[in-house]
């Protein structure tokens, strides 16, 4: 006999098929959250969390640029540069904007610029964490 499952699901449940608990597709929440920091949570109606995530990630990225951090390119051939590029790409539209506007420095010339490079990479990585969180909320894997 089929049993109706009340969503949201609790993390750790096994054998249950995940369906959206909010009406927003988890994939849409994930992609929106990746492209624009905080947008995934905004779609799910989590206004305060969305605002805090947007401000945090945006500020980290902006500080990184202001410190003359390096914006990685995809085709340098260096393994560490590829990892840096993957981190930078996590910022979504912000990375595209930085490339488009020519923000960031190619060579790191001063000590604080290296901090800037790390700020930019970590902003991207944090944005990925936030987007995955939006996906979990939308799918019901995370309760609230």
């Amino acid at each position: 006999m089929a049993t109706k499952i009340n969503y949201p699901l609790v993390a750790g449940d096994k054998g249950l098929v995940e369906t959206p608990a909010s009406g927003i597709s988890p994939t849409v929440a994930l992609i929106a959250g990746w492209l624009v920091p905080g947008a995934g949570h905004l779609l799910l109606g989590k206004w305060i969390r969305a605002a805090l995530l947007t401000v945090s990630i945006l500020c980290m990225f902006a500080i990184g640029i202001a410190l003359k951090g390096k914006v990685y390119l995809p085709n340098t051939g260096e393994p560490l540069d590829i990892l840096g590029f993957a981190g930078d790409l996590g910022s979504g539209v912000l990375y595209g904007l930085a490339r488009l506007m020519g923000w960031g420095q190619a060579p790191v010339l001063v000590a604080v610029a290296d901090y800037g490079t790390k700020f930019i990479v970590v902003a991207g990585l944090l944005n990925i964490v936030a987007a995955v969180d939006a996906h979990s909320l939308a799918s019901g894997r995370k309760r609230s």
Partner: protein
């Protein structure tokens, strides 16, 4: 723009802790607690590591 190393630590810890708090806990009260915990660990860990490096040098 130039900032001191300690300011960079504080800013990095603040923003990272906010994101960790929101994403790693489900209840708002626990989010604040975990965010504060992360912030203290980031800053405290950096200060501790700084003293270790100073002791190694001297």
């Amino acid at each position: 723009m130039t900032i001191s190393q300690f300011s960079a630590v504080l800013l990095f810890s603040l923003f990272t802790s906010v994101v960790f708090g929101i994403t790693q806990r489900a209840e708002p009260r626990m989010m604040v607690r975990f965010g504060a915990f992360c912030f203290v660990l980031f800053v405290g860990g950096t200060i501790a590591a700084s003293w270790v490096m100073w002791l190694i040098k001297h």
